[in-house]
C-alpha cells in the first residue's frame, strides 16, 4: 500500500480519536447532551473497513456512530454541530449523537435500538439487487446485537436471498456492563451465528487497521462479485466507558484489563509500524496532528456558531408532502387530527 494511503488511514483514525476526545470535553461542558457513546479504541475498525468502499456503497451503524460517520467522510463541522443540537448539524439537530445520518455519503445512520438497524441494511442490499446494481452495504453492529432476534432474522433473509451485505461485528467484549461470555452462548465464536444461516464468516484483529482493511476488501470483492452476504468479526476494545454516563471501568472490568488493551492502541500500532518501516517520520505525525487539531478546532467553532433550530423545525419533517401521482389531500387541513394540526398544537401549546 502506498505511503499516502497509509498516512491517510492514520489521519482518519487520529481525526476520530481527537474528535471523540473533544466530544467528551463538550459533553462535560453541557454542550452535548443525551447519551453519547465514544469510539475511542475502535478507530481501526471503522477506518479500515470504510476505506475499502465506493462512494455509492451504503453504510449503516448503531448508536456508537461518530467514528463510522467521520470515516465515511462526513464533515466534522456538521457532525459536531449535530452533537450540539444545532441547525447546522447533519440532521438539523434533530438526530443527535445516536442518529447521525448523511445521505449524500450514503451514511444511512445511526440507530439506537440494538439490532434494529440490521434489517434496514438488508433492505438497502435488497434494493441494490432489485435494481441490478453492484453496490455493497456495510453494516456495523456490536457483539451485543448478535443474539438478538433482529440479527438472526436478518442473517437468514440475507443468506436466503443472496443480499450484498457485509455484516461487520465489532466485538469489543462488552455490551454495556455485560461481557460477551454472559450474553452469547457460543461466545468463543460469535460468527457461528452467521454460518448457522449458511453465511461465510471470518475474524480479524480489529486493532490493526491494515488487517481490517485487507479482510474487508477481500470480503467486499467477494460480496460484490458473488452477490452474497459475508460476516466479519473484528476483535476490538472500547477504552472508555459504555457512554459518557459510564466510568471507564465499572464493576464489570478491571483497570488493568483496560490498561492492557491500551497497549494495542490502533493508532500506536500503525504509528510504530510506519516508523519502523520508515514510511513516515515524527515530522509527518506532528504535521498530521496539527492538521487534525485544526479540523477539530474549526468543527467546534462551527458548531458553536451554528444557530439552535427554530421552533418551526419542531413540526417539520414528520411527514413529507412529496408524492408521485395525483394529489390527494396532503395539504394541511384545518382540524386534521394527527397531521401536526390543531390537536397537536392544542396539545403542545395552549393560548
Amino acid at each position: 500500500m502506498d505511503r499516502a494511503r497509509l498516512l491517510h488511514l492514520y489521519t482518519q483514525m487520529l481525526l476520530i480519536r481527537r474528535f471523540e476526545e473533544r466530544s467528551a470535553e463538550m459533553y462535560a461542558l453541557g454542550k452535548i447532551g443525551g447519551f453519547c457513546h465514544l469510539y475511542i479504541g475502535e478507530e481501526a475498525v471503522a477506518v479500515g473497513a470504510v476505506d475499502v468502499l465506493r462512494p455509492d456503497d451504503y453504510v449503516f451503524s448503531a448508536y456508537r456512530d461518530h467514528g463510522h460517520c467521520l470515516a465515511r467522510g462526513s464533515d466534522p463541522k456538521r457532525v459536531m454541530a449535530e452533537l450540539f443540537g444545532r441547525s447546522g448539524g447533519l440532521c438539523k439537530g434533530k438526530g443527535g449523537s445516536m442518529h447521525l445520518i448523511d445521505v449524500e455519503r450514503r451514511f444511512m445512520g445511526g440507530y439506537a435500538i440494538v439490532g434494529g438497524h440490521m434489517p434496514l441494511a438488508a433492505g438497502a442490499a435488497f434494493a441494490v439487487k432489485y435494481r441490478g446494481g453492484d453496490q455493497v452495504v456495510l453494516c456495523f453492529f456490536g457483539e451485543g446485537a448478535v443474539p438478538s432476534g433482529a440479527c438472526h432474522e436478518t442473517l437468514n433473509l440475507a443468506a436466503l436471498w443472496g443480499l450484498p451485505v457485509l455484516f461487520l461485528c465489532e466485538n469489543n467484549r462488552y455490551g454495556m456492563g455485560t461481557p460477551v461470555e454472559r450474553a452469547v452462548a457460543l461466545y468463543t465464536d460469535v460468527a457461528q451465528s452467521a454460518t448457522a444461516h449458511g453465511i461465510e464468516a471470518g475474524r480479524v484483529d480489529g486493532m490493526d487497521v491494515l488487517a481490517v482493511r485487507e479482510a474487508v476488501s477481500k470480503a467486499v470483492d467477494e460480496i460484490r462479485t458473488r452477490q452474497r452476504p459475508y460476516f466479519l468479526e473484528t476483535l476490538t476494545y472500547r477504552f472508555l466507558g459504555h457512554s459518557m454516563a459510564d466510568p471507564a471501568h465499572g464493576h464489570y472490568r478491571t483497570k488493568s484489563e483496560v490498561e492492557e488493551a491500551k497497549k494495542r492502541d490502533p493508532l500506536l500500532l500503525l504509528r510504530t509500524r510506519l516508523l519502523a518501516e520508515r514510511q513516515a517520520n515524527n515530522e509527518d505525525f506532528k504535521r498530521i496532528e496539527q492538521e487534525v487539531a485544526q479540523i477539530i478546532r474549526e468543527a467546534v467553532e462551527f458548531a458553536d456558531a451554528s444557530p439552535i433550530p427554530p421552533e418551526t423545525a419542531l413540526e417539520e419533517d414528520v411527514y413529507t408532502s412529496a408524492e408521485k401521482g395525483a394529489s390527494h389531500g396532503k395539504e394541511a387541513w384545518p382540524g386534521r387530527l394527527g397531521e401536526g394540526g390543531c390537536d397537536s398544537d392544542r396539545g403542545g401549546r395552549v393560548q
Binding site: 438526530g95 442518529h99 434489517p119 434496514l120 395525483a326 390527494h328 387530527l337 394527527g338 397531521e339 390543531c342
Partner: protein, 325 residues
Amino acid sequence: MKATYREALNQALREEMRRDDRIFLIGEDVAYYQGAFKVSKGFLEEFGPRRVVDTPITESGFTGLAIGAAMTGLHPVVEVMTFNFAILAMDQIVNNAAKIRYMSGGQISVPLVIRGPGSSAHQLGAQHSQSLEAWFCHVPGLKVVAPATPYDAKGLLKSAIRDENPIIFIEAQLLYPTQGEIGEGDYTIPLGVAEVKRPGTDVTLIAYSKMLLVALEAAEKLAQEGIQAEVVDPRTLRPLDLTTLAASAKKTGKVVIVEEGWPVAGLGAQIAESLYRTVFDYLDGPIIRVTGRDVPMPYARNLENAAIPEVNQVVAAVHQVLYRN
C-alpha cells in the same frame, strides 16, 4: 363495475405495480400461495418472483428489510398475513419507519405500505382477533387507513401506495368477500378525507372498517322508527378528518361511535375527545361509544358474538343518546 373488496385490493395493487417498477409486494405466502386470503391472486404469474416475494416467518426482519428498501428508493408493499403479527414488527414500524424521516432532518423518506387484515374473523381466538388501530394512530410519522367498502379499498390503497410516507392499511377478513360498485379503471381517494355514507339529521353514527356495515344496518333499522341517522366513515384514521366529523356532530348534536376494538384507550376515545373539544356547546349529551368488550377474544361462538358490537347495541345506543333520562 361490481367487485369484491378482495378484488378491489387486487386491482389497485396490480394497477400500481404495472405503473411503477419500484413497487413490490413482500410477505408470507404472497407469491406461490397467492396470499393467505388470496389478495395477490395472479401476481406471481404477472410480475414474477422479483416483485412478488415470499418471506420466512420473520415479521420483524422482512418489515425492517422493506423499510430499508424504501429508504433507498423502492416502494414496498408489505403484506402482514394478519395485523396480529405486525406486533412482532412494532419496533421496526414505530422506531424506524415512523421516525427516520424526522431523525434525519428530512433527508430520508420511507414510502411504504403495510397492509393486511385486522380485527376479528370467526372464532380465531384471542391471539388472532384484535384491533390495534389505536396503537398505530398514536404514532406521529404514520398514517392509518381502514376502508370499509370495495370502492374505498381500491381508491385508498392507490393513494396509500402513491404516498411517500409509511402507511398502515388495515383490511378485514370478513370484508374480503363483500361486494360493491367500484367503477372503472384508475381513481384515487385522498387520504384524510371522511365520507358521509348515509345522510341524516337526528344522530351521527361514526364507524369505520367492518363496523361501518353494522352502523349502516342500524341506521336502516332506525329509519323504520323514523330516526334519521347520519353515518360517517372517517376511512383514514390518521390523519383524522375532524372537519367532516365535527360538521355532522354539530348538525345532529348527538353522537354514537362504533368500533370493534377494546374500549380502554381505543380510537373512539380520541374521536370523542376531539369532538367534545370542537363542538362541546352543540352536544345535547355525552357521546356514546359502542366498542368491543374489554376482554381477550374468546373462542366460543356465543361469547365471541357477545364480545363484538352488533346492530342492536348500536340501535340501543342511539336510543340512549336520543332519549336521555
